[in-house]
Amino acid sequence: MAPCRQQNTSSSGRGGTPHRRSARDLSGQPANRISPWADAADLTPGATPGPTGPTVTVRMGEDESRVAVAVACRPSHDARTPAPLRFRTHDWAGDVTSIHADREPLAIDLDAVEIGFATPDGTLRALDGVSLRVPAGSFTVVIGPNGCGKSTLLRVIGGLLEPNAGSVTVGGSAPRAGDGRVGLAFQQPRLVPWRTLLENVALPLELDGVPAPERVDRASVALERVGLGDVAGLRPSELSGGMAQRTGLARALVEDPPVLLLDEPFSALDALTREAFDAELQRLWSERPRTIVLVTHSVGEAVALADLVAVMAPRPGRIARLVSVELERPRGTDLAADPQAARLVGEVREALSEAHAVGLRPWAETRGAA
């Protein structure tokens, strides 16, 4: 059995189309012979498995119409004999001509994004002309005082909010919530209380109409990835804070999104747990490259995780300073020992306190025109 392997070929950079309902078999034959769990490893030379498996694009027939394909690849215990590749497709015509990996990390582009909210006191400018280029596969941390717009920024990237002005693109096209390109984990676990962990993690798949056996499979894989494979049957009320947070993370990763957004994911946890989770996050990221944007309050966390730290200031919400972090990876948690790290921490801290100072000025002085 050929191993699950990922082929790093070109991707056109367009966002993948959302998952559809039908599950079919790719067998090099006409599409109407369907078996959801076909072993098609032979059709994917060079494909390597990721945390939840690679997704591939199947090009069909002459016009090579692009087809989004989701692939669940169950990691085997024995690295030398990986499980067969399983996947489903939709909307095709003709024979399979080639299969390419689709799920490369995507770059994020914000160009002069403005968002205002109407309040009784006038318009609150949550984001005021924010521009940021996040390279594909990089780890960016956004840090800033309360009200600086960092959570708003995350929601804009995730497709939950539309800018009043400016543009935002993920992988070259506008983000749309639920299209599977962006995974979002919140500060609170936000788990559905009456569902088991497995059902919670499977939720994005359920919304996309993935059939139940495949959902269970992929959700189990995701939970195993975050170390909760044994407790998939528990309910959220039975979990500790850390376990709940990890479940939220597993849910964000279950569709193997090329972009992962994290809104203060570990701020509710104690310091040591947080450090451990940060280390795990780095591990997950290195195993399976993704574009990650993480929001935090913690300077230490920022410097430990980021390639680039964006310091934001409030009123109006904007990026005050960008600090590039070129420390070697993997990074330990004890950054104080490293003078370069310490310097970076100091730089970020200085930018942060400037941003805080801005925040302390009275609202009326800095209020933008309503």
Binding site: G158, G159, L160, A177, W194, E206
Partner: protein, 246 residues
């Protein structure tokens, strides 16, 4: 087991208190019959088959009335919760209708709906409707906005959010409304019968009272209504235990 023992003890105490009241107050049988008179009368009514016929009618009316009232109540409650326009347009009429005693409206409704089982089911449903609709509205309104945002971030459309989040999260409150509604259904059936029916426990109450001057028989009818109410309530609680996951 403990629960049943406690229930039996409290029932025995209730019977003893009832008996004590009739003895101490020296109430004659035709004003307040003692428990043994009611039990004896009840057994007689069961033997002659009289009780069964009336009981069955009332049970059918209240079950159908509850089903209709609860279904419309839940649908209306969802609509009220999700649309401010609908709420503003409808709730004055719903509330005003609730304030009008159904006993006064029942005869009219009986005529409008043809005076048969349908009319009684409608009257009963009207009584069940309000608590269920309000409970549904409140339950859906109290959906956790954080979970709602989470679902939006996964691309869930409004129908999915309603099905996967709002309704399951509202179920405990909805079941609270259903508990109230199911006991009101029994009352509703009786009120409907008083508007014009040939059989039913409400009719039996009238027959016992005005036709036979048989107060113990009236109490038998009342006790039957209470038992029906208890059984219905218990069924709703059972359903709640199975459907509401906590």
């Amino acid at each position: 087991m403990r629960g049943i023992g406690l229930a039996l003890v409290s029932f025995a105490v209730f019977l003893a208190a009832w008996k004590a009241v009739t003895v101490i107050g020296r109430y004659p049988d035709f004003i307040l019959p003692p428990p043994e008179a009611v039990i004896e009368r009840g057994l007689r009514a069961i033997r002659t088959g009289v009780l069964w016929e009336h009981l069955l009618t009332t049970v059918v009316e209240s079950v159908l009335g509850f089903a209709l009232g609860a279904a419309t109540g839940i649908l209306t409650g969802v609509a009220l919760a999700k649309s401010i326009v609908i709420e503003r347009a409808l709730s004055p009429y719903i509330v005003a209708a609730q304030a009008i005693p159904i006993l006064a409206l029942a005869p009219l409704l009986d005529i409008w709906f043809g005076g048969g089982l349908l009319a009684r089911v409608v009257i009963c449903a009207l009584i069940v409707f309000f608590p269920v609709a309000i409970a549904t509205m409140v339950g859906i309104r109290s959906t956790d906005p954080l979970l709602d945002e989470m679902l939006r971030s996964l691309g869930a459309n409004p129908a999915q959010r309603t099905r996967l989040l709002e309704i399951p999260s509202a179920l405990p409150v909805i079941f609270g409304g259903l508990r109230v509604g199911v006991t009101l259904a029994v009352i509703g059936a009786v009120v409907a019968e008083w508007a014009g029916a040939a059989t039913g426990l409400g009719v039996l109450i009238n027959i016992a009272n005005q036709g036979l001057f048989d107060t113990p028989l009236m109490f038998v009818a009342l006790a039957s209504l209470a038992i029906i109410g208890l059984v219905f309530y218990g069924l709703v609680v059972l359903a709640e235990r199975r459907l509401v996951v906590r």
